[in-house]
Symmetry: C2
DNA sequence: CCCGTCTACGTACACCGTACGTACGTCACC
DNA sequence: GGTGACGTACGTACGGTGTACGTAGACGGG
């Protein structure tokens, strides 16, 4: 009812993606959602790609980064990683567009800025801090894509169909592990890798055993 | 010229993707590439989605998995990870479709089967082996997506434009690290994370320091 | 009053995936 | 040698897509 603007369009796009999936999104659908003609959107958004950038930006800027510089760096890393994973919970179907559009805007840069600050405080100097950052991003992106179903979990195809899925002769390991492969507790999986990475980083700093948490 | 079949269609699709990118692919373009009518494709492929599965399968089945069960498990892990990364080199623009289609076919299962076998030989029992596998896949997928440009490297936008990109006041860390962020040697980055993960796994096994390679 | 600017909108074009109907070449069987 | 069934290739058509372009109305300043 109120006047059209970029924020309303982006919000409608996010809603639509979450309701019907990223594939279902189209300029026509969004316009219909807003009760507006298709071409009216182009008064506020140059094209669909820019709109998706807006979606990524909107989702990304909702991440709560509460960084406490006085905390131990391992906990700061954990908190930042978990904050990023929130998007996979709040906006699961938007996750793919968030991670696949590289933003130059503040919202897109802030997570990296925070992470680099933490890594510097932890004691990593320039080159190594950047490598750590990139490794962490790779792990988080890969984890989120699994969590939202883009990437496989290797769960035997149907949740039903007792256990047997793959031919045990061809795939003995997969068959033997069908039990564990069948369930995928995304939070537990994420925490497992996170802990492993944090410990690996601590080792790299020569601080073995100081990470502050025992692993499950 | 020879008769149409699924393999020829898939091959044409892979070629087209590599030449013009995954977005440029369409049934009409593929048909034109093969010099046939669009609908002729549907005699051999039920729909576009199945065709993309075929693309993923074709690319995946070209990975060379030369697993030497007598080698140290750390080297086996390294070799398998690198083998997987080959696809990002040989078929960069197909990488996204490879990682985003979950295949139930042998070609799709084999890498996981091999990895689980290696992890078992290394001494990881059921549940932990599966978690290690998933963590490794997450890291590799995330790394490949960065390598093929889906995900950001945080390189200051243009390779030119000396160094300054972000506002140093807002993003002091990013600005200070602009040098290191500007360059992204994908092989070195991949190896860095790989080594970190392998060492973390070794620590988990209580085998500290036996990983067999020093890191750069 | 008039004119420039901005917003909303309709139409149109090129392209997409694919359902459907059809024509034709090949082979089995009588 | 028919002759029918079948599989492959193909054309047409429908409903969808992103968006270029032209138009019409609202609004504010001279």
């Amino acid at each position: 009812m109120s006047t059209l603007n970029r924020a309303r369009i982006v919000a409608a796009a996010v809603d639509l993606i979450e309701r019907e999936g990223a594939d279902a999104i189209s300029m026509r659908r969004i316009a219909a959602e807003l009760g507006v003609g298709v071409m009216s959107l182009y008064n506020h958004v140059p094209n669909k790609s820019a709109l998706l950038d807006g979606v990524a930006e909107a989702v990304l800027s909702e991440i709560e980064f509460t960084d406490d510089p006085s905390a131990h760096w391992t906990d700061r890393v954990r908190i930042q990683a978990r904050a990023f994973r929130q998007i996979a919970h709040h906006y699961p179907r938007s996750t793919m567009v968030v991670v696949s559009r590289q933003l130059r805007s503040p919202a897109g840069m802030l997570p990296a800025e925070r992470a680099l600050a933490t890594l510097r405080d932890a004691g990593f100097e320039g080159g190594e801090a950047v490598r750590m950052l990139r490794m962490f991003i790779a792990y988080i992106v890969g984890s989120l894509l699994r969590e939202v179903g883009v990437t496989p979990t290797f769960a035997p195809v149907r949740p039903d169909a007792p256990v047997a899925e793959a031919d045990p002769a061809l795939f003995p390991e997969l068959s033997a592990r069908a039990q564990e492969l069948g369930a995928c507790d995304h939070e537990a999986e994420f925490e497992f890798g996170l802990e492993l990475l944090v410990q690996a980083m601590a080792v790299r700093l020569g601080e073995r055993g100081l990470s502050g948490h025992e692993t499950a």
